[in-house]
């Protein structure tokens, strides 16, 4: 029974990872862009949630649409003002530039908010738990998983059913051919980067009631995000979602069997295992 509880906790943890890694895989699949500042975008989403809650007492979940929109525009602005110059420049250039961007955002957050852990405080709602038989489910984590599922399904439907989604998928498959078909590839890139940033922002909103924020929170989450994307198959949204749940469960089981501080080490070993056994991931990566 304890094991079931651990697996459930892992699946719930996967919800947070899903929001982050779906954004990473979309940007990687469509724009062929490795964004090492994605973790910092999540961090900005968390601080935005904190500031809005502290100054206006707006509940994080109510602030979600606003923050998602804000992060969308931040992603668009970052792409238009900086990152578009690195598209087509190779992954090394992208990693170096987004690493630099991440440093700027991290130290900016440090200057604005200080280096301490900050949380929303002991709100009653944030700690409530549902009991199902002997299984305990944290409400805020359950909501996170639901939001992650809804967002992922919505994204898959948009990519699959709409004309715009087809254009995105065409761009992901062959940028040059898509351009010849009259698809405005640059605009697709811009919007995709915006969506990737918005997803990181939503992940930040959902994480804030569960976990305290600090300026360098992004580094470790970013690595887990990329491990999930590798496991799921580069560019596969479905793969990223399933991969998130798998990594969440692996992390929870590792925490249960060994020690909670060892769980990330086990996930990294799991990553090496993926690279050795199935580096192409579980799903075929052609977006959606």
């Amino acid at each position: 029974m304890v094991l079931v509880q651990v697996v459930v906790s892992g699946l719930l943890l996967g919800g947070i990872y899903a929001l982050l890694s779906v954004g990473v895989t979309l940007v990687l699949g469509v724009v062929k862009f490795v964004n090492f500042a994605q973790g910092e975008l999540l961090m900005i989403g968390m601080y935005a949630t904190l500031v809005i809650y502290n100054s206006f007492k707006i509940h994080p979940y109510l602030a979600l649409p606003m923050i998602a929109l804000m992060m969308f525009f931040l992603g668009v602005v970052l792409h238009f003002g900086l990152l578009k110059w690195t598209v087509g420049g190779g992954h090394n250039l992208q990693i170096v530039v987004t690493l630099g961007l991440g440093l700027v955002l991290q130290s900016g957050a440090q200057l604005l908010f200080g280096g301490n852990f900050q949380s929303l405080g002991e709100g009653k709602f944030f700690n409530s738990v549902i009991q199902l038989g002997q299984i305990y489910i944290s409400v805020s984590r359950l909501i996170t998983l639901i939001v992650a599922s809804v967002v992922t399904i919505a994204l898959i439907l948009v990519l699959d059913k709409t004309l715009w989604g087809k254009a995105v998928r065409a761009t992901a498959m062959d940028q040059g051919a898509a351009q010849l078909m009259g698809i405005k590839v640059k605009r697709i890139y811009l919007v995709t980067m915006g969506i990737g940033s918005a997803l990181a922002g939503i992940a930040g909103v959902m994480l804030m009631p569960i976990y305290p924020v600090y300026p360098t929170i992004g580094t470790q989450l970013l690595l887990i995000g990329f491990i999930i994307v590798t496991l799921g198959g580069l560019g596969s949204v479905v793969g990223a979602f399933i991969g998130s749940l798998i990594v969440g469960v692996v992390e929870a089981l590792a925490g249960y069997w060994f020690d909670s501080s060892m769980s990330s080490v086990v996930v990294y070993l799991f990553f090496i295992l993926i690279l050795l056994v199935r580096p192409q991931g579980i799903m075929k990566g052609d977006v959606a």
Binding site: V34, L82, W85, T86, H91, N92, L93, I95, V96, V97, L99, G100, L101, G102, L103, V104, L105, Q106, S107, G108, Q110, L111, G115, P215, T216, T219, Q220, L223, F226, I227, T230, L234, D259, S261, M262, S264, V265, Y268, L269, F271, I272, L275, L276, P279
Partner: protein, 330 residues
Amino acid sequence: MSNAKKQITLWLSAVSVLFLITYISSKQDYFLGHLIILTIISAALASSWNIVGGMAGQLSLGHMAFFGIGAYTSTLLYTKMEISPWLGLILGVLLSGLVAFLVGIPTFRLEGSYYALATLALGLSLYQLSVKFVSITSGAQGIAIPFKASFANMTFPSLWQYVLLAGSYLIIVLGVCSYIAATKLGFQLAAVREDAQAAQAIGVNTMRVKLIAGTISGALAAGIGSIYAQYILFIDPHSALGVNIAIQAVVLSVVGGVGFVFGPTLGAIALIPISQVILKHFGASAPSLHILIYGAVTILVALLAPKGIIGVLRQISSRISNRSKAEQND
């Protein structure tokens, strides 16, 4: 001048610069000497990183792992078993080279950024392990190395001795870099960096040359970790295995000129003194201001001057020589 003569002149001048810096640091106040040593240590680490990150074009984000293996190996052997740090340094170099080799095996056969991710995972894992295994590493509390000044203990009373120590190591690292750059391996690495498939097509064993570069790079990074530990006489997970160590190596190499033998050293000379002065003056009010500058400079250099300071210097010198040629023609 012939190539060999040029090389000899270059290294003789490097050694004399080292002696000059050592002499200066023996006459100056503590802060300047400290600045010089930190610059040399950062330059040596970034130059080691440059072998795999620059020459081979395989970005590593986990060089704190190798730095930390060196620091912890020599420190643990010295504090627990009284084994001389000189021997500890050598053992750390060997161990780190082995670890770097093992990380390369699953990642170098794949295209893409897996090496960057796997090295980052290695570094973060070792950080977690060093915090966790308190009985061995003393955890987050860190290990203080007793001050027993003697050559055998690699512990010295004056700063200039450390300048000489770290500087000699930097010259060794630079020597290895320029040897690689001048030999067949250097050209093979450049081919892999520019186009791995084309390199393979003309018969370069890409996996093998990447593994060699990764192993040498990881091994050399460990030595400077031991020297750092013996200089500060204290290590903890953050100072020996923090992710900032790896990021700094990337930043210095990019700013100085990634892939060039002297690029990371130039990057360290340009950035470390500035960042330390900023840290000294604004450390209390704005503790991460120097990181902000690192980030901004990295973005600007990567986009506007991808060959870094070396590239800019070369451009200027070629422009001057072109102008003087044009004047001669007039």
